[in-house]
């Protein structure tokens, strides 16, 4: 807890000046606002009764009061401005840092953490932290200053009644604490219920067309209603318990008010000589103080919950920031270009230690060769790509590029040597041109169009409402095949020395595939390329074919050799063209 607060403060450092100004303004604003009831008391004391009002005194106090009020208001205003700068600035930095951290995290981290959870850390968690900083800190600080200030003022008026007030305040804290405990479990049930509801909605509404196709609406509504009822009940409980807190503490505060009033009044009458005689004006001020003194306790109990929430969110953010990044490799050699001779020597790799995947894998590809990898889903084909591009690091053995271990180079410069098209297309929100030029940001429009024409995407792009300037996103209505074409166009634009095509044309119809085949062939000429596909026609022309089973190569050779071998490859090939 302490560490988290300290850590949050380190993020506030660039905004130190605002932090200090906030504190100063709060001190000034709150202190001045505390003087207000004192002055009101003085004013009341000047108005004793008929023909007994001291107008000069009242006038002076009124002017003083007005000045105090205005000054206090100005300081409160400045405080709000400064704390905004502090909170929003800190949040901006934290978010940017978090994103920078995610970009240098090992891929395994991103693969193994649910996407929604990571987004939650960047967006709502930081949002809650921001609210906590803004309201929590401000109210906590204001509250503390108010309590201390009022205490001092009350002491100057009457020590004994002050002691009475101080003794009674823990009462409201105890009440608030008890209620908070009651709330906690209901809130947990509510958020669990809300999560389930969200998941159900996402599944059903997200696949609404299927729900319709199966005429499943009614049953879906029934399931929805059950969960809705649960959520409603859990929510009702949690919200009601939480809302008890305010009236309950207000009740306790009112009791304190009554106690002060009674004792004070009796004191004024002289019934309690040990208290001392108080003027009516003093009693008025004191009552106001008692009110003012107890209020922050209320607020602080609310703020503590909010701060706790903010801290637990901060912790989730720090968890990401504290995770291990990919090791720094800026002192490694930068690979400018390569010939493309690749050798894999006895590598070993597994995602989880208890499930060995690749045990002993070796292969060699001369520069410009076309290597195809064939095998069932889950046999480790895509893992080879992860290892070649060092998205994951091999656990034993080595990968040599032009006879040098790829570990000698910076990861970035190594990856730049590969052009990669994956089965899962990635289109970001931006124009078509921006999406194609992702591989080469300084590409001219002409180059972009050339690349699009090469993969036969120019036609459908032209038909889009604004052609190359149409803003697209992953779910903006492009078909899977069209998205794949755009991803291939990226590679056409860049022309890196080596290529990796992982089911790159799986969603493109055969006719179009045949049309872009020529462009592909041209691109692959002289480039070492790795092709993963389930259409054997794409594979047959490869210089070397690797057949993988359970993380190991079981057969290798060119097409004719493998067919002659009459093993798994031959079986696979026959089955594809059997019928």
């Amino acid at each position: 807890m302490k560490n988290i607060i300290f850590r949050i403060l380190t993020y506030c450092k660039p905004y130190q000046k605002y932090l200090i100004l906030t504190i100063l303004c709060t001190l000034a604003g709150v202190s001045l606002s505390l003087v207000v009831p004192v002055l009101i008391g003085t004013a009341v004391d000047d108005t004793i009764g008929v023909q007994n009002v001291n107008f000069t005194g009242l006038g002076r106090t009124a002017i003083l009061l007005a000045g105090t009020i205005l000054l206090s208001a100005i300081f409160q205003w400045l405080e709000a401005l400064f704390i905004n700068r502090l909170a929003f600035g800190t949040v901006k930095d934290l978010r940017s840092e978090l994103m920078a951290k995610l970009e240098e995290m090992p891929i395994s981290y991103i693969d193994s953490n649910p996407r929604g959870d990571l987004i939650a850390r960047v967006i709502p968690d930081i949002e809650i932290l921001s609210d906590g900083l803004l309201q929590g800190f401000a109210q906590l600080f204001t509250g503390i200053v108010t309590i201390l200030g009022t205490l001092i003022l009350m002491l100057t008026v009457n020590i004994k009644i002050t002691v009475l007030v101080v003794i009674m305040t823990p009462l409201s804290l105890i009440v608030a604490g008890k209620i908070a405990k009651l709330c906690h479990s209901s809130f947990q049930r509510q958020s669990a219920s809300r999560g389930e509801m969200g998941a159900l909605t996402e599944e059903f509404v997200g696949n609404q067309k299927l729900v319709k196709a199966f005429a499943y609406e009614q049953r879906a509504e029934e399931r929805f209603a059950v969960m809705n009822q649960e959520l409603s009940e859990a929510g009702l409980k949690a919200t009601f318990f939480a809302s008890v807190s305010n009236p309950a503490t207000r009740f306790v505060n009112n009791l304190i008010y009554v106690a002060v009033g009674t004792v004070g009044a009796l004191g004024a009458v002289g019934a309690f000589p040990w208290i001392g005689v108080m003027s009516v004006g003093k009693l008025t001020s004191f009552l106001a103080f008692a009110n003012q003194y107890t209020k922050p306790f209320n607020e602080i109990s609310g703020v503590v919950a909010e701060l706790q929430n903010a801290f637990s969110c901060a912790q989730r953010v720090f968890e990401v920031l504290d995770a291990d990044s990919e090791p720094d490799d800026s002192d490694h050699e930068v690979l400018e270009t390569c010939k493309g001779e690749l050798e894999i020597r006895n590598i070993k790799f597994s995602y989880t230690p208890d499930k060995p995947l690749i045990r002993d894998f070796s292969m060699h590809a001369s520069a410009g060769q076309k290597i195809a990898i064939v095998g069932k889903t889950g046999c480790g084909k895509s893992t080879i790509i992860n290892l070649l591009l060092r998205f994951y690091e091999i656990q034993d053995g080595e990968i040599l590029l032009d006879h040098v271990s790829t570990k000698q180079y910076t990861r970035d410069s190594l990856r730049q040597q590969f052009g990669m098209v994956l089965q899962e297309t990635w289109i970001f929100t931006g124009t078509v041109a921006e999406n194609i030029a992702y591989s080469k940001p300084d590409a001219t429009r002409e180059e972009i169009e050339q690349a699009a024409k090469a993969v036969h995407a120019h036609g459908f792009i032209k038909r889009l409402p604004e052609g190359y300037d149409t803003v697209i996103s992953d779910n903006s209505g492009l078909s899977q095949g069209q998205k794949q074409l755009l991803c291939i166009a990226r590679i056409m634009l860049r022309k890196p020395p080596m290529l990796i095509l992982d089911e790159a044309t799986s969603s493109i119809d055969l006719r179009t595939e045949h049309r872009i085949q020529r462009a592909f062939e041209k691109l692959m000429q002289g480039r070492t390329s790795f092709i993963i596909a389930h259409r054997l026609s794409t594979i047959r022309n490869a210089d070397w074919i690797l057949v993988m089973q359970d993380g190991n190569i079981t057969e290798q050779g060119n097409h004719d050799m493998l067919i002659a071998q009459n093993g798994y490859y031959a079986e696979l090939y026959q089955s594809q063209f059997a019928g």
């Binding site: 009341v44 008929v50 009124a62 009020i69 208001a73 100005i74 709000a80 401005l81 600035g89 901006k92 994103m99 995610l102 240098e104 891929i107 996407r115 987004i119 998941a199 599944e203 997200g206 319709k212 199966f214 005429a215 879906a220 929805f224 409603s232 009702l236 009601f240 207000r250 009112n254 009791l255 009554v258 009033g261 009044a265 009516v280 008025t284 009552l287 106001a288 591009l389 970035d412 730049q416 994956l422 990635w426 929100t429 992702y438 940001p441 038909r463 779910n475 078909s479 969603s507 119809d509 055969l510 006719r511 179009t512 054997l536 026609s537 047959r540 090939y573 089955s575 059997a578 019928g579």
Partner: protein, 582 residues
């Protein structure tokens, strides 16, 4: 917005009683300073300890009643809000179920999900807060004005002026900030989307070494958001200090003019104390209200979004007839017939399908082939009546498709989507989507026909195996086979396979087709594929290109006459031939 008020109607009791109790609490709370004023004026002035003690007892009673009122109000508020929320959520979901695909496309599913979850919750919170807190400040102000008016109408004028000024301030700040808040929300959404895209594309980003640019772009977006938040902050920052100043300056005025009245004997010192106390209470209530404004404006914006969905009416009219094949005996009648059918998606520039004609008898198989974006899935969607044809008529089992009840139509059709989507739950539960009463033996049978029984039975828990959302723990081919089994489980009259065998190897594909032909001779089948070999044996093949039918007939006829089909077939047969040579 009117639409949503309807949902509050059943909770009239809570809506009236809740604020009434709040009003009573406010009155009781206002009485406390009044009684205290009496203590000062009479108790202290007359040195009457008995009076003081009695009055203090009265205050305690007032305070206890006040708390009871408040607690009841909180409960009523929560009950009203949560039941309203539940009703609204259910109604919204049911309404979405009634929308046709045209409206679903227009609204977008992600928005709809958001509206059911987040927006309904925000609207519900708004109702809760409104009953609990928003009514408090106006009541306190009105109550205070009334109390003061009874004592001293001139001082009451000060209260009125203060209330008006604070009201104006609130209005001004809300009017300025609400649009800005929603703009900020949009910016935050954009940052969220960018984050998601970065996670999805992590491999591509790193392969192109674009991390630095991505971080810079992201930082720019964050800085932009910071600037807009500061801009709103600047406006909303004036709210509390100015309220503080207005009300406290009001107190100064009350003291000055009150002093004059006290001097004249119209007012007592105790009254003056009570007046200042009222002001302080108004201030506290106003500050609570100001903090609420953000919640209430968010609730209002959310409610509008929910209302927008509820106001969207389905453009599709349901028919009245049920599909009954007992009357469908004439072998000369068609199971499916398209007559000059054209279709254009809403807001699309061109037709997705143009003048499609074909006729298919019961038990026949239709193959649809064509390139990416040719309109194959659109055609399948028309048979499911996801959309109505823009021009022309679609007839199913001898009647216009629009005459049938959608429910009955969907029961008669088994649809296998292009993207193999399965739902959270066991395999068996997924298979029961089409038929809730599916027996164990029928389940085994459809699994077998869909070539899925082998792998399902190999699972440790068989058909009881739990599928994680979307069936992520299965391979693509396994998922496809289960979606086929799911469609067959409903024993449909028409089966639509929308390119749903793409992840199957050729041998499994062939076995599946044979099984379908043999087990379901009466089932009318529509197969969409990119493999000519998969469709070769179909009774009728439709070749689509850019929404036009460029060829129709059997495999042999098309091979002889249709250029596009020849091209498709040749490109695939080249492979076959080469394969056969070896």
């Amino acid at each position: 917005m009117q639409k949503l008020l309807k949902f509050l109607k059943p909770y009239k009791l809570e809506l009236i009683l809740g604020p009434t109790l709040k009003l009573l609490e406010a009155i009781f709370e206002l009485l406390v300073p009044k009684v205290m004023a009496n203590i000062i004026d009479y108790g202290i002035a007359r040195q009457d300890t008995g009076y003081i003690a009695r009055m203090c007892g009265l205050i305690i009673i007032l305070v206890i009643c006040g708390m009871c009122f408040a607690l009841t109000c909180q409960y009523l508020a929560a009950r009203c809000a949560f039941r309203y929320g539940a009703d609204l959520r259910s109604a919204l979901y049911q309404h979405i179920n009634k929308l046709s695909c045209t409206e679903l496309d227009r609204l977008g599913t992600s928005t709809l999900i958001n509206r059911i979850t987040n927006d309904v919750t925000a609207s519900q919170t708004g109702v809760n807060m409104f009953i609990r807190l928003a009514s408090r400040a106006p009541f306190l102000i009105i109550g205070a004005i009334v109390m003061v008016f009874l004592k001293d109408p001139q001082i009451a004028l000060i209260f009125v002026i203060v209330a008006l000024l604070v009201g104006l301030l609130l209005y001004f700040v809300m009017q300025k900030t609400i649009p800005l808040y929603s703009e900020n929300q949009k910016k935050l959404d954009q940052i969220a989307r960018h984050t998601g895209e970065n996670l999805d594309g992590v491999r591509v980003i790193r392969a192109f070494s674009r991390q630095k640019q991505e971080v810079r772009k992201f930082s720019d977006e964050c800085a932009d958001l910071e600037q807009s938040m500061l801009a709103v902050g600047k406006i909303s920052a004036i709210l509390n200090p100015v309220t503080f100043a207005i009300i406290n300056l009001g107190i100064v005025a009350v003291l000055w003019f009150g002093g004059i009245h006290v001097n004249a004997g119209a007012l007592s010192q105790g009254d003056l104390t009570a007046f200042t106390n009222y002001m302080t209470q108004i201030l506290l209530a106003m500050i609570a209200l100001a903090n609420l404004i953000v919640v209430l404006t968010k609730a209002q914006a959310s409610s509008l979004r929910v209302a927008e969905v509820l106001e969207t009416e389905s453009t599709m009219q349901d028919g009245s007839e049920e599909i009954n094949l007992n009357n469908f005996n004439n072998p000369e009648e068609f199971a499916i017939a398209f007559q000059q059918v054209s279709f254009q998606y809403e807001n699309a520039g061109a037709c997705a399908l143009t003048e499609i004609n074909f006729e298919l008898r019961r038990g026949q198989t239709l193959g649809i082939i064509g390139g990416t974006g040719a309109g194959k899935s659109t055609l399948a969607g028309l048979i499911c009546r996801n959309y109505d044809a823009t021009v022309g008529e679609i007839r199913i089992f001898g009647k216009n498709i629009r005459d049938y009840q959608l429910n009955s139509l969907h029961h008669a059709i088994g649809y296998v989507p292009q993207k193999a989507v399965l739902f959270t739950g066991s395999i068996a539960e997924n298979l029961k989507w089409a038929d809730a009463d599916l027996t164990e033996s029928s389940m085994q049978k459809v699994l077998e026909i869909a070539q899925a029984s082998e792998f399902v039975n190999a699972l440790p828990q068989g058909a009881a195996t739990h599928l994680v959302q979307g069936g992520r723990n299965l391979s693509g081919g396994q998922k496809q086979r289960l979606t086929i089994a799911r469609a067959l489980a409903g024993n449909p009259e028409i089966l639509i396979l929308d390119d749903s065998m793409s992840a199957l190897d050729y041998a499994t594909d062939a076995r599946l087709r044979t099984a379908l032909r043999e087990e379901y001779p009466d089932m009318t089948k529509i197969m969409i594929s990119q493999r000519a070999t998969s469709l070769m044996h179909a009774d009728l093949i439709l070749v689509l290109e850019d929404g036009h039918c460029v060829g129709m007939g059997t495999h042999e006829a098309l091979l002889a006459s249709c250029e596009v089909y020849q091209e498709i077939y040749r490109s695939q047969m080249q492979e076959n031939k080469k394969g056969a040579e070896i």
